[in-house]
């Protein structure tokens, strides 16, 4: 995960000046590099685990840690990129689709009788995006790792029901 710790000068530029169309190439290059680094970190964090809930828990915790440890990069992906018009929208949509595919693998572990809406992954991503945005934009919300149990509760409930979600609340943070 070398790339997340490499300081990208453009992160400072966009934070200071906002997105400018003349910087489209720099924006795209920075986004692509951070997206790959983020997904790589998620992969590393989740690969030791066998079932979806364990993997999801590990991915959520890793995301929360990354947001706290790499605030500038997290802010770029969640806040600054919103101002980047169509280019930003397309990048966000691509990342969203990649994460949604990972999330939706929960369906492999569902009982056949359970009907989970197609849009569930998008819903779960929305839960995370909202909290990450608020943490990065204003910095006033509680630190993200402390919010993870609640986020897990909401996400796991959406796929596996309230009882399963509540188990996440009772589980100690690692």
């Amino acid at each position: 995960m070398a790339r997340l710790s490499d300081r990208d000068e453009y992160l400072e530029v966009i934070a200071r000046e906002g997105y400018l169309p003349r910087d489209a190439d720099r924006f795209a290059a920075t986004w692509d590099s951070l997206e790959e680094a983020f997904l790589e970190r998620l992969f590393e964090a989740t690969v030791p685990f066998g079932n979806w809930r364990q993997r999801f828990r590990a991915a959520a915790m890793e995301t929360a840690r990354l947001v706290e440890a790499h605030r500038r990069e997290a802010r770029f992906l969640s806040v600054d990129a919103l101002a980047a018009g169509e280019l930003g929208r397309m990048r966000r949509a691509r990342l969203g689709q990649r994460l949604a595919r990972l999330l939706d693998s929960a369906r492999d572990e569902l009982d056949d009788s359970v009907v989970v809406p197609e849009a569930t992954a998008g819903w779960v991503l929305g839960i995370f995006f909202d909290r990450i945005y608020r943490r990065c934009a204003a910095g006033t919300d509680p630190d993200l790792p402390s919010q993870v149990p609640e986020l897990l509760f909401l996400a796991v409930s959406a796929y596996f029901g309230t009882r399963a979600g509540l188990e996440e609340l009772a589980r100690p943070l690692r």
């Binding site: 018009g85 849009a119 909401l154």
Partner: protein
């Protein structure tokens, strides 16, 4: 040619109409309100077309047919205008949501009816939907504050659902904020993708998501797909 003063004119201009040039004799407070409203409407339209980032003062004043001096009379920055537009949109939406809520008796149906009205309204006025769900995130912390307050206003209504939950004691205290934030994000994404017209199709799924933590998946699904 000058317009006749209001005393001679039984039909003063519409609140949002461009005012006649020259000495029109309209009360100054009417003129102020008209110009401010036009700026807000122009900003909201622009947001629908190009988003907050494209809503420059030049584009706003062009859309409102006023001078930059008039813009600065009411707002210091585009962000100020954004906050005013947001607050106006919430003001307009509030009675619609209240009527939908009060129109149903049972809590799950109230939630469903309220989400339905929200989706229909945003399908019809995507620029307002975008202003309320997406642009506060783009415009920055000042604009995000009224957005957070607007979501907070809805929390007690959702919280009533805890009375129906067998696990109400163990539900996380800020769960309602999480559900509303996710609802906002889901709707915002659809609007950004230019798919406002199909927003009402999200109703059963979104209702199910919101109800599930309170009722469990089976009852939530039943209430979400109820025929009304």
């Amino acid at each position: 040619m000058q317009s006749p003063p209001p005393a001679d004119n039984p039909h003063p201009p519409d609140e949002l109409a461009q005012l006649p040039h020259g000495r029109h004799g309209l009360p100054p407070e009417f003129v102020d309100r008209n110009q401010r409203e036009r700026l807000i409407v122009a900003f909201t339209r622009l947001v629908g077309e190009v988003g907050y980032s494209g809503a420059t003062i030049t584009a706003i004043i062009e859309g409102a047919s006023v001078s930059s001096r008039t813009f600065y009379k009411f707002f210091e920055t585009v962000e100020d205008c954004c906050v005013a537009a947001f607050e106006k949109a919430v003001e307009d939406l509030r009675p619609l949501l209240a009527t939908a809520w009060e129109g149903e008796g049972e809590w799950p149906l109230r939630v469903r009816a309220t989400i339905a009205v929200l989706l229909e309204d945003f399908a019809e006025l995507p620029e307002v939907g975008r202003l309320l769900t997406v642009e506060p995130f783009v415009a920055g912390p000042r604009a995000a504050t009224p957005h957070k307050a607007a979501l907070e206003e809805m929390v007690p209504f959702l919280r009533e659902g805890r009375e129906l939950s067998t696990a109400s004691e163990t539900l996380p205290p800020t769960m309602e904020r999480g559900l509303l934030g996710a609802l906002n994000a889901r709707v915002g994404r659809q609007l950004l993708a230019g798919e406002a017209a199909s927003l009402p199709e999200l109703l059963p799924d979104l209702t199910q998501f919101v109800l599930t933590p309170y009722l469990g998946p089976a009852s939530a699904r039943e209430a979400a797909f109820v025929q009304t």
